[in-house]
């Protein structure tokens, strides 16, 4: 009985540690990008923090969703719909391009600065 309790404790402790490690790894991997910049016809349409969950209607051409630190295209008025099938992006420099709609969605941050002197 005593031995069982001890084993339980070790089991619980290791599960907690694994959970913590997984959680931290998850956080680090998604911390890289800070914002999504949407460009339409070569001009910046808007910049949106990855921290804020929201849906953005981009000029009636497509709808971008920002959720849990990731950006994806949820619907598109163009026929192909390739961009909707693209996987969600979250790291600095990653892009989703909708060629027919001339829309580029890019994650900024990482290499950028927080202030300048």
């Amino acid at each position: 009985m005593k031995g069982n309790a001890k084993r339980d404790l070790i089991l619980v402790a290791s599960v907690v540690l694994v959970a913590a490690a997984l959680f931290c790894a998850f956080r680090v991997s998604r911390g890289e990008g800070t914002a999504v910049e949407i460009t339409v016809d070569g001009k910046v349409y808007g910049t949106y923090p990855l921290d804020d969950d929201r849906e953005i209607d981009v000029d009636g051409r497509l709808v971008v969703s920002i959720k849990d630190g990731r950006a994806s295209v949820v619907s598109s008025s163009c026929r192909g719909g390739d961009c909707v099938r693209e996987r969600a992006i979250s790291r600095a420099g990653e892009t989703i391009v909708c060629l027919p709609g001339a829309v580029i969605i890019r994650v900024t941050g990482g290499g950028e600065v927080d202030a300048r002197v």
Binding site: G31, D114, V117
Partner: protein, 331 residues
């Protein structure tokens, strides 16, 4: 079988208890002010909730507003003794609020350490340059020399919270240290409101506290000759300040006249395009950047050692030099 179920329940419970507390991720919030110290101020912080950010942001705003009014040399405010009051009345002696005394004490240190190069009593001279900058004309040399007649900090007396000038025509200008001092006080207000991971940027006078969830805050050092950065610095719990000839200036006949005036020549200092300082104390960081801009490199490096600071000089010819420890902040 029963024991196995108990064990599984215990595991689930442990996981359930652990994850939510760990999963309280902080979000990035930001606010910009334009009403303080004649510059653009940005406060960016990671907070657990919007209401937490709102509390910190209000504390920062209140503190900056209070110090802006105290250090204002152009306007007086009802019920407050500020530097404009001091400049008007200190011929007879004026009791001053603690923050003004503190700020002048910092000046006292650096006035001594720089052999009089950093001098808040240069007010009358800086006033002429300020007016000329707004009109875009060059100052009259005789007028500058007349303004300089009593312009020395050793003619300012401070005791028991009373400031007195030796001559009534003297005046103080605290532009070289006020923003740094104010950023330090405002950072204290933010921490008292429970926020410790933030950047407070008073127009290129940047105080960095704590970290971002994904690492250090990054401060870019402006390239005076172009759009980009000379270097990027990863800092935590320190201030980064640049004094540069491109920050406030005017041009006459293609010659640039900037805002950092040498008290001995009464003209803009010409050794460097810019000097960047990293120092833990925000007021010292601000004082050091202006001091170093006015000094030779050896003297500046000695001052950095005294205050535990690091510096980067961009010389007038565009070449660069650094203190030994500066590179450890570059990324």
């Amino acid at each position: 079988m029963k024991r196995v179920i108990c064990r599984a329940a215990a595991l689930l419970l442990a996981a359930a208890l652990f994850l939510p507390s760990c999963g309280k991720t902080k979000k990035r919030y930001s606010v910009t002010y334009t009403e303080f110290f004649d510059t653009v101020t940005n406060f960016t912080a990671y907070c657990v909730s919007e209401s937490q950010f709102d509390r910190a942001e209000k504390a920062v705003r209140d503190k900056l507003g209070e110090l802006h009014r105290l250090f204002d040399i152009y306007n007086e405010y009802d019920g407050t003794v500020n530097l404009a009051t001091v400049n008007r009345l200190a011929g007879d002696g004026v009791p001053v609020p603690e923050a003004i005394g503190d700020l002048l004490s910092v000046y006292g240190l650096f006035w001594y350490d720089t052999g009089g190069l950093l001098d808040p009593a240069l007010g009358p001279v800086l006033r002429i340059w300020h007016d000329c900058r707004e009109k875009g004309v060059l100052p009259d040399t005789d007028a500058l020399e007349a303004a300089d007649e009593h312009a020395s900090f050793n003619r300012v007396f401070m005791s028991d919270g009373v400031v007195r000038f030796e001559y009534p025509d003297m005046s103080l200008d605290v532009g070289a240290v006020a923003k740094g001092y104010a950023s330090g006080a405002a950072a204290g207000a933010a921490r008292n409101a429970g926020v410790s991971d933030f950047v407070l940027d008073l127009g290129g006078n940047v105080l960095v506290s704590g970290k971002k969830p994904d690492g250090d805050w990054v401060v870019g050092v402006t390239d005076p000759t172009g759009e980009g950065f000379i270097t990027k610095l990863a800092v935590t719990d320190a201030s980064v300040v640049t004094s540069g000839d491109y920050q406030r200036y005017f041009e006459v006949d293609g010659v640039r006249y900037h805002h950092i005036i040498d008290p001995f020549t009464l003209m803009p200092a010409t050794r460097y395009r810019a000097v960047t300082v990293i120092c833990r104390d925000p007021a010292y960081a601000d004082a050091l950047s202006t001091s170093l801009f006015l000094m030779d490199e050896a003297g500046g490096a000695a001052l950095c050692r005294k205050y535990g600071a690091e510096a980067l000089w961009i010389r007038a010819d565009g070449t660069i030099s650094k203190t030994e420890g500066f590179s450890s902040y570059e990324r």
